[in-house]
Amino acid sequence: MVNPKIVELFIVEAEELIAELEDGIVSLEERPNDDELINTIFRAAHTIKGSAGISGFAEMVDFAHVLENTLEAVRNGSKQVSPDIISACLQSVDVLKTMMNMLQSGRSLTEVAVMPETLAALTALKTFSKAESHPPVSSDASKATTGKKRRIWQIQFRLNEDIFMNGQDPAMLIVELSDFGKIIEVHADCSALPSFENFNPLKLYTGFNVIFESEQPRSTIENVFLFVSDTGEIDIQDVTHQFKDGVNLNDADKKLGELLVETASIPPYAVQKALAAQKPVGQLLVEQGVVRQETVDSALARQKTAQEMKNNSSIRVDTDKLDRLMNLVGELVTGVAQVTQLSHTLFAEKFGTTENDEMGAAVEFLDQVSRDLQEQVMLVRMVPVEATFTRFKRVVRDLARELKKEVHLKMSGTETELDKNVIEKLVDPLKHLIRNSVDHGIEAPKERIAKGKPAAGTINLNAKQREGSIVIEIEDDGKGIDTAAILNKAKEQGSIPESAELSDKDIFNLLFLPGLSTAKAVTDVSGRGVGMDVVKRNIESLRGSIDVESMPGKGSKFIIRLPLTLAIVEGMNVRVGEEVLTIPLLSIVEQMRPGENDVKSVEGKKELINVRGQVMPLIRLHELFSFHTDNTDPCDSLVMILESEQGKYGLMVDDVLGQQQAVIKSLDKNFTKIDGVSGATILGDGRVSLILDPHKIEQMALHL
């Protein structure tokens, strides 16, 4: 059995790598000639294999190895990127994901090897990793004529000093090499040359660096060095990927001096001497009187800090730990609030005044600091939406292929940050909306061309921060929403009366009714009428909202607004009997003290309240929750007018105590969910207050 901690670490790491792999493979289809991208994908696959090996998952190693072979074929050019290769690779990504799921649920991977998905993926991959039966299309004439892949080798060797005594000669070795291929470059490494007086002409001081192109296998090259291999250091590397049309791509990153030394045009000390003679730009500027020394120093210091910051990589932290930290900081804020209160009281008692309250000032400072701390901790939970957005590329790609459409997914604002918990719960609704856009929004290529649009449709996925909330937009340039069809369907289903006249906005909102779908045919993708209502519900459970805009023939846009964090809600504290409850400020429309004629009973039980001519249900909170209070007459109480999905209603409470930024605590962590309550928070005096769920309360009271 493998150490569970290691498995846990492996899972976290591998999930990221698999995501990277998947993203890379999808992108490769768009940019098949991007060598850097191919290398990234290859590295990801390779690292997965390595990590799986370390963690002892042989089945995963074997599988990743086959994938790696296929990718290697792509990397060395023996295989061209094709949709089939991409599909095969993606198929294997899915198998890797299945393996991860199995590991996560603590199952052994032994059964993976015989699963049909695995076998299918392996078969698909192996067709591509096999040696090519026909030559690949390539601009390189030599490749085309030989049919075999020429590889480029870098051979670095430094032989024993006394090699001449054995009748060997490095020059002969290089000549022998040239029998098997083409020597591209030879560099001599003269760094070991002694000074002239110590120079012995019978000794070998130079090392060699040969770049060699050949279609011979590595063993042929090794055979050339067979007789000298035990008397020196010989390093043979396949560097094919570094070369493109005979040009060493690594040269791009090298400094001029390095290149000159490498090609032996100048000795290294000459470069060093030249560099030493060169003055730093800051010094030159100071000398020219353009800038003062202090300014240069401070700029240098800033540069150093920035460089250090850049090197400061991130660390992985368990979200549980963050939650605990968050809890503690919340406690700290509460504690400081109590101390503030106490210190004021004590000071007033002792000195009979609150003027010049030094203690109070000190405590207030503490209060400020702890609030800042709370905010910082909150920020730690924020993660960019990029990783989540990126995975939709695959969704779009697969679906577009299936539907024989061309769709580009463009993303912007991927650096926008959201609470990790929010992001996780947003994946499914977003995926649904994007699938909808591909399926219903974007037209088939022929249809698009007929309309004068480009054959390929575009979906824009955009995230941004606006006024304390996050806005995510999904916009397509497809056919738009058919308002007439929705209206007919809704009338047909009896969701709205036959005679109803609705604005476009109201019609778009019908989309979110359960069971409403205008798709002509029910497909695997959508059209079953489940979905949009779930999307809306999911988003609302995140205390967010969704809106639709659409222009016939131009496209549609779904706009999702979300709070920055789920950890905090702006709340209004109200009292019922001895209990203090918290109502989310966002759902409160107003508060009122009803007059005698404003409250009417219907059918003996249900009550209605008249708010300036608008009649809405009245819910007595103390009755609903069975809390004891002496205030049973609405005219002696306050009525909070709340807005929920169904409309407005009045909630009767004893008193309003004030506004509070409530740190939300979940109840089901230690307990269980409670009807009508979305969570709890800690009040300034340390007591627990329940946070009400206005929507649930309405359901409980009115639809019993």
Partner: protein, 166 residues
């Protein structure tokens, strides 16, 4: 890979005491015991926040250093008569199935060490408490302690608090 096996689980060194320690408390005229390993801490009674829609024995919640902890009155849970809380009333904070919960008891007595030989199987005589919740009777120096199976007694299923049940 075997090389990792050794580091996986470290055995705790046995404390030299034989048997198990129990925190004992009383309800009515009887003494009860809970394995000390389940007990996180003991705090004095304080006012609780009421929870709507739960059985009467769930008296409410309190704030324990930032955690919201549900509190159960053990008298009501066992169907005994309610008693006014006084200065002896304490709340025993327990960790059951990873959840922190509290029970209100009349007062805490002691921590007693029972060896296996001092624990008798559950007799079928206890009328007040469902024998399913009793693991045995501890006996030491003329003293009888009813040892409770807290994990069973306070599981959400037993408390009829699973979603949809209440």
């Amino acid at each position: 890979m075997q090389s990792y096996d050794t580091s996986s689980e470290q055995e705790y060194t046995e404390i030299s005491l034989e048997g198990d320690q129990y925190v004992t408390f009383h309800l009515e005229n009887e003494e009860y015991g809970i394995s000390i390993l389940m007990v996180q801490e003991i705090i004095g009674y304080r006012s609780l926040t009421q929870i709507p829609g739960v059985p009467e024995y769930v008296r409410g919640m309190l704030n324990l250093r930032g955690a919201v902890v549900p509190i159960i009155d053990l008298r009501l849970r066992f169907g005994m008569a309610q008693r006014t809380y006084d200065k002896f009333t304490v709340i025993v904070i327990l960790v059951v199935h990873g959840r922190t919960m509290g029970i209100i008891v009349d007062g805490v007595s002691d921590v007693i060490n029972f060896e296996a030989s001092q624990i008798q199987p559950t007799p079928a005589i206890s009328a007040t408490v469902n024998t399913d919740y009793i693991t045995g009777m501890g006996q030491k120096d003329e003293k009888f302690v009813i040892l409770l199976d807290v994990e069973k007694m306070l599981s959400l299923e037993e408390l009829a608090l699973m979603q949809g049940v209440n």
